[in-house]
């Protein structure tokens, strides 16, 4: 298994990032303080500084990045230019941040809520260890989590 640690983003580049990351109504939309913007402000953790997240892309490529405590997998992906849609911006109204987790990490998580399951039911390629990336918050226990991007986030039937 190849793992690549991502170089942390310097603080100067982060300031650009905030001005260009225009997402109106973050707060109004019910975002917790643990949103992407907040993390962007304090920069990315360097190798070994945060918790490891290993994304497996659709073509099998593995990308290893670092996450802050409490950061969602969707935020981690966005912050590292990993193309997960997240169309509803973590408001549990779509399934476009569907990820397939390694069974070990999956079992460490609390059960998905009914609302998350409702959306997972619309996800393409649903598996027994599927979760919405916006609902999985990183912590020490999940250090080293493997999250596979499904081949397509699509609801074929609804």
């Amino acid at each position: 298994m190849t793992r690549f640690a991502r170089t942390p983003v310097s603080s100067s580049s982060n300031s650009n990032l905030i001005s260009s990351a225009v997402r109106p109504n973050w707060e109004a939309a019910g975002f917790s303080t643990a949103s992407g913007i907040q993390f962007a402000k304090r920069g990315r953790p360097g190798p070994g500084e945060g918790f490891a997240v290993n994304f497996i892309m659709q073509d099998g490529e593995e990308i290893s990045v670092q996450a802050h405590e409490g950061e969602s997998l969707l935020d981690v992906a966005w912050a590292n230019d990993i193309d997960i849609e997240g169309a509803c911006e973590a408001s549990l109204a779509c399934s476009t941040c569907h990820l397939i987790l390694d069974p070990d990490s999956y079992s460490k998580l609390e059960e998905p809520t009914d609302e998350e399951n409702d959306m997972l039911d619309l996800a393409f390629g649903l598996t027994d260890t599927s979760r919405l990336g916006c609902q999985v918050l990183m912590n020490k226990e999940l250090d080293g989590i493997v999250a596979k991007l499904p081949s397509m986030t699509r609801n074929a039937s609804a």
């Binding site: 193309d83 779509c94 609804a158």
Partner: protein
């Protein structure tokens, strides 16, 4: 997109992804996104090929016109702009306001679904993107249709490709007596358009002050949206962008019972868990359905149900079990019922619907409704037909009347003989029919965009060859101006939107929509 903006130029990237940052090769992500869901292996393969090489001559422009500004158009535009930096896109919209069914279809009490508009706003900020609102393209083939501001033939010389994404404009009829002549019978589509502020539906006669019982024919999410709007406490709806006009009507509403009728059984419902859950959580509302039918159908299906269906059926079971009897309001799911006709009183007002009773035949995966010959009459004051939308053909474009879509292969328009029509593409409901949530449309808009990108990069025939000067929207805007026609830019739309938000803020709503084109345009004077 936020993801792209997060990518800092010049930042050292991991070796595995070192090809990302330069704009000319930034089509980067996920060619294999195209795996399972793309019907044609060849398209997936050619795109993969195309995308592993650099995009065609960066000096060669790719001029695209998109007809329609809903998710089908915007997501395709998003993808093309991301992967073909030299592309430029003009998006035409008949109304002054963009976003199609995100604005006019998504229920007002589902504001979180409307977050996709932020992505559309970001697309519109791209300097290579131009929104041309208040400008219809392509007259509908239906006799008597209003002439469009521009025809496809006007656009054709100026672009490499035209993407048709104008959606599904009409509703399907039941084909039974009196469905269009009685007061109180209407299309769910019209009702949804009415309460969401769609200008063309504002003349709809909606009177809930004398109605106690409503029937919705059809068991999809639109049917449940209609039922929910009728039964949700008004205080809740007042916090949404439901139009003030509709709120006034709901203030006088006497609707207490809503029956949601389908011709087949519980396993065949088309609505999804979120919408059902919301119905089951309505306060002061009893839920009825045939528990025996649910049990027998579930038993019959054995273990063959997939997880979503299993959860949905579980939710129905729970709904029956936990339903509080004798609440002031109620709703029901009625199965095995096909409408045979509507009847009214002397004032031409709906009074009842006649239903034919069906039985189910065939495999669990493909149950068919067969008429038993028995009938029943259900008294009602309102009826909404909600059995689907359909697209309408426009002049100069192939159209499949039976399926109600533009015939296409992975988004590439074909004629009746399956011959490719170079340079024409389709996306969204016009492409695959009126089904699916926004994520479904997103995936299929991406598929169409990928087909377009692949065709462009591999040098396939487009609308015009490389020798002709394709000027995009500029000559068209001049033409429209010379005719005295007012177009609306995205910046203009943002002004309209700001005004709507200001008006909404005064009454504690996210926005108060303008109900007429005139009011929208007046903001820009």
């Amino acid at each position: 997109m936020i993801r792209l903006s997060l990518l800092t130029r010049g930042q050292p990237l991991s070796q595995a992804r070192c090809s990302i940052p330069t704009p000319s090769t930034r089509r980067t992500f996920t060619p294999s996104l195209l795996n399972n869901n793309i019907r044609s292996f060849s398209t997936a393969w050619t795109l993969r090929n195309a995308s592993t090489e650099s995009v065609a001559d960066p000096a060669k422009p790719f001029k695209v016109a998109v007809i329609g500004s809903g998710p089908g158009g915007f997501y395709a535009a998003h993808r093309i702009l991301k992967h073909v930096p030299q592309s430029s896109i003009d998006m035409f919209e008949a109304l002054p306001v963009p976003h199609g069914l995100v604005r006019f279809g998504v229920a007002p009490d589902h504001p979180e679904v409307k977050n996709v508009m932020h992505t559309f706003d970001e697309v519109a900020e791209n300097p290579n993107f131009t929104f041309i609102g208040n400008t219809s393209v392509g007259t509908y083939v239906t006799p008597g249709s209003k002439k469009a501001d521009l025809e496809i033939s006007d656009l054709r010389p100026h672009y490499d490709a035209i993407l048709l994404a104008y959606g599904a404009h009409e509703d399907r009829l039941l084909g039974v007596p009196n469905e269009q002549s009685l007061k109180g019978v209407m299309a769910a589509r019209s009702f949804v358009g009415f309460y969401n502020g769609l200008p063309e539906e504002q003349d709809l006669e909606v009177d809930l002050s004398k109605a106690e019982t409503a029937v919705v024919i059809g068991q999809g999410n639109v049917a449940l949206d209609v039922a929910r709007i009728l039964l949700t406490p008004l205080e809740e709806l007042k916090k949404t962008d439901l139009t003030e006009r509709m709120i006034k009507i709901l203030e006088k509403s006497r609707v207490k019972h809503v029956h949601v009728v389908g011709r087949r059984g519980p396993l065949e419902v088309a609505f999804t868990a979120k919408e059902l859950r919301e119905m089951l959580q309505l306060p002061d509302t009893t839920f009825h359905m045939d528990q025996g039918l649910l049990a027998s159908e579930m038993e019959r299906s054995g273990k063959t149900l997939d997880r979503p269906r299993k959860r949905l059926m579980g939710l129905l079971e729970k709904g029956i079990k936990e339903s509080k009897p004798d609440q002031p309001k109620s709703w029901s799911l009625q199965f095995l019922r096909s409408p045979l006709g509507f009847s009214g009183d002397g004032d031409n007002q709906l009074k009842a619907i006649e239903l034919g009773i069906n039985r189910l035949e065939g495999e669990s995966s493909n149950r068919k409704a067969v008429a038993t010959g028995e009938k029943e009459t259900l008294a009602c004051d309102l009826a909404f037909r909600s059995i689907g939308y359909k697209s309408v053909g426009i002049q100069g474009i192939p159209f499949d009347e039976r399926k109600g879509v533009v015939p296409n292969l992975d988004g590439k328009v074909v004629d009746a003989e399956q011959n490719i029509v170079p340079g024409f593409y389709a996306s969204g409901w016009l492409k695959r029919g009126p089904i699916g949530v926004i994520a479904t449309t997103m995936a299929d808009a991406y598929q169409t965009a990928d087909t377009m990108i692949s065709d462009f990069t591999s040098g396939k025939a487009m609308l015009n060859d490389d020798t002709s000067s394709k000027e995009g929207g500029k000559p068209l805007l001049e033409l429209l101006k010379s005719k005295g026609h007012k177009t609306v830019s995205y910046k203009d739309w943002k002004k309209i939107e700001q005004k709507e938000c200001e008006l909404g803020a005064k009454v504690g709503k996210p926005r108060e929509k303008f109900l007429t084109v005139e009011e929208m345009l007046k903001v820009l004077d």
